[in-house]
Amino acid sequence: MYVSSPPEPVGLANRMTARAALATELSGGASRIRALRSDGPLVLRPSHPKGAEPLTHRRPDVARVSLAAGTAGPLGGDDYALSIHVGGGSTLVLQEVSAMLVLPGATGGRSRTAVDIRVESGATFVWWPEPIIAAHRCDHEHDIRIEIAPDARMILREEAILGRHGEMPGDFASRLRITRGGLPLYDQRLRFGPGAEGADGPAILGDAGAVGSVIVVDPVWVDDAPPALPFHRDAARTPLAGPAVAIAAIAADSLALRRLLSRGVQDLGAPWAA
């Protein structure tokens, strides 16, 4: 459900729990925001187009929301949850104001962010966030679950930066699980940091400073998804076992990563190219 429960009592000093929610619906031929609930550091605001957009191309008839961080973090011990419901036939573009910096907390412990998303029949979801930066000694678990209806469309980007400039990253894990019509479509949990053995080796990330992917789901690809395309030594487009593609890349830094992912999206052509 997109209407979350009230914030839980804070068990330990400096630990923050946040429950935010967002819902859209189709009304009178245009998408509109039906529910918008910020909570503490998770600040949701209706917004205007911000730079190039894939698929929706700054159209005015879509619901557009921006997620901003009200405080630094998450820090160790913090527990954030965001629930998103893209109602039948509506279009939601979710963007972010700035990169998210994940930091260790004063008391240690793991920070968590859980995002639960439902994309209903005929809906379109564009999630175009900024990178997550895993700072030195952080310990963060990012968990994104998406259920998308078989006739809905979606494009989302995820980028992780391994430490601030010149520092080693802390422990970071990011799971993205997408089910389509209840069946698994994509499920990957990326880990790096001192606790993830082999992550900086040649099977996983090598010496990359940034890693990311773009996932695109389009029901028109049921019989004919775009073919696999390794378009750079460190990047490839791969069709999934369903009407979807993943564009994956590693790079030295966030700028180079963004360039590779953007190129992968441009290669998809209309209507996805930004």
Partner: protein, 227 residues
């Protein structure tokens, strides 16, 4: 159909690289990583093997264990669900194809070596870990054995490939395998534990470079190994 004596000999049979199931044609991503210039020495081989065991190895082990426990109960009704969960964990179509080719081959071999009606129920092109799990059950082995068999087979296969694509001392290759023995045991335990839960919660560790390199490898004209 559990074995009284622990089934160690049956486990060795299943994990042996000489099992005639065509595994020798694959390097488990090692040659693609060498071709890309990401492995140049033995330290690189070891880091590669560790990373691979912790990602693709753990995934394969968990699915082998899950298939084994289902086959041991004679309940193969949701094997297609396991297949779909495994597909979702392998973004590269090349690696999905390799897994299914190796699965077909393993089934072809095991159906001749130790026939069982389970093999006929596995669909046209089952994933290798699923077949390994079923084969383990048919031999009277348990989920942890199935996990260990596929971890060992894929790890030693990739290590053996190092001798053909790099200048290596074969004793050093096996020294790496010896150092990894505890790791494989631990991963097999994790896999077996995960296999007791629902399929949607089976491990899904990502290895972006393995996916990217596999797609490049398919398009490389000169290669020794199929993957």
């Amino acid at each position: 159909m559990a074995r009284a004596a622990g089934g160690s000999a049956a486990l060795l049979l299943l994990a042996d690289g000489r099992l005639p199931a065509g595994g020798y044609a694959h390097s488990g991503g090692l040659e693609p990583a060498v071709t890309a210039g990401r492995i140049t020495d033995m330290a690189g081989v070891e880091r590669f093997l560790i990373g691979r065991a912790e990602t693709a190895g753990l995934t394969a082990a968990a699915f082998a264990a899950a298939a084994c426990s289902r086959a041991a109960r004679d309940d193969l009704s949701d094997l297609s669900g396991l297949e779909a969960e495994l597909d979702a964990r392998i973004p590269s179509p090349e690696l999905r194809t390799v897994s299914r080719n190796l699965g077909r081959q393993l089934r072809r071999a095991m159906a001749g070596i130790h026939p069982h009606p389970h093999y006929a129920t596995l669909g046209a092109a089952p994933h290798q870990p699923i077949v390994m799990g079923v084969a383990a059950a048919v031999l009277g082995l348990g989920p942890r054995d199935a996990a260990l068999a596929i971890l060992h087979e894929t790890n030693s296969g990739a290590a053996a490939a190092a001798a053909k694509v790099l200048r290596v001392d074969p004793f050093e290759v096996h020294a790496i395998l010896a150092r990894m023995a505890d790791r494989l045991d631990r991963l097999a335990g994790e896999a077996a534990a995960a296999a007791a839960g629902p399929a949607c919660d089976l491990p899904a560790p990502a290895s972006p470079l393995a996916d990217i390199a596999a797609e490049h490898h398919r398009r490389t004209h000169v290669r020794l190994f199929a993957s």
